[in-house]
Amino acid sequence: MVTLLYFAGLRESLGCSREQVSLPSATATVSSLVDHLRSRDGRWTEAFAPGKTWRVAVNQRMAELATPVKPGDEVAFFPPVTGG
């Protein structure tokens, strides 16, 4: 299982701030995890549709599509940041 967190506009569109999911495979990456999420239901399909802009952090560090994800990880999805 991994913990997924959603922030800001993405949290609002998905109506979800936190969930636990099983990894789609033993050798998962952000990319395969997103493919899995996209296949789940309309809101996820929409939020992660090609062309949508989002950022991802794995274990609280900025990550990329190729970043590995393993059981126990905390994976956060959010829009580009706008602090400061």
């Binding site: 506009g9 829009p79 940041v81 400061g84």
Partner: protein, 155 residues
């Protein structure tokens, strides 16, 4: 040494500067930046905003940005305070302070920290406008500002 605080409360700029440099007589230059809530953005009146963040990652990201500044320049102290929660126009949002021996380094490091805070620290602003709540879009100029530090020379 980087000091990072994420808090709902306001901060006192004078007191923070004083505390950071008290007794540090090797410090000759203190560059700082204060970000304030503006009352307009993209042509709409803004009556307030809420700052959301990613607890845990926020502090870590800010500490890492400060550590990069310390690695890149000879600095005595860095401080970042960022507020979260509801704010109104005129409110302070962020304070970045860099103390060092000389001004060139202090200015550069202060701008460096702000540029990376804007593009790497997980904060999100939702503005209250007459048309309702609106998530602020990231600005490509902020990405450009952060990109220029990839060059090891002064940008």
């Amino acid at each position: 040494m980087p000091v990072v605080r994420v808090q709902a409360e306001d901060f006192d700029v004078g007191r923070e500067l004083e505390a950071l440099t008290r007794g540090r007589h090797e410090v000759g230059a203190v560059a700082s930046f204060v970000g304030l809530v503006r009352d307009a953005n993209h042509g709409s009146r803004v009556s307030g905003m809420t700052l959301e963040h990613y607890p845990g990652m926020t502090e870590r990201a800010l500490e890492e940005i400060c550590a990069q500044a310390h690695a890149r320049w000879q600095l005595a102290e860095t401080l970042v305070i960022h507020r979260v929660g509801p704010l109104v126009p005129g409110d302070r949002i962020v304070l970045v302070v860099v103390a060092g021996a000389h001004r060139g380094e202090a200015f550069e490091a202060c701008e460096f920290i702000m540029d990376f805070l804007k593009t790497r620290a997980p904060f999100w602003k939702k503005e209250d406008t007459p048309e309702g709540g609106r998530w602020v879009d990231a600005r490509s100029t902020d990405d450009t500002a952060a990109e220029r530090w990839k060059n090891p020379q002064k940008p």
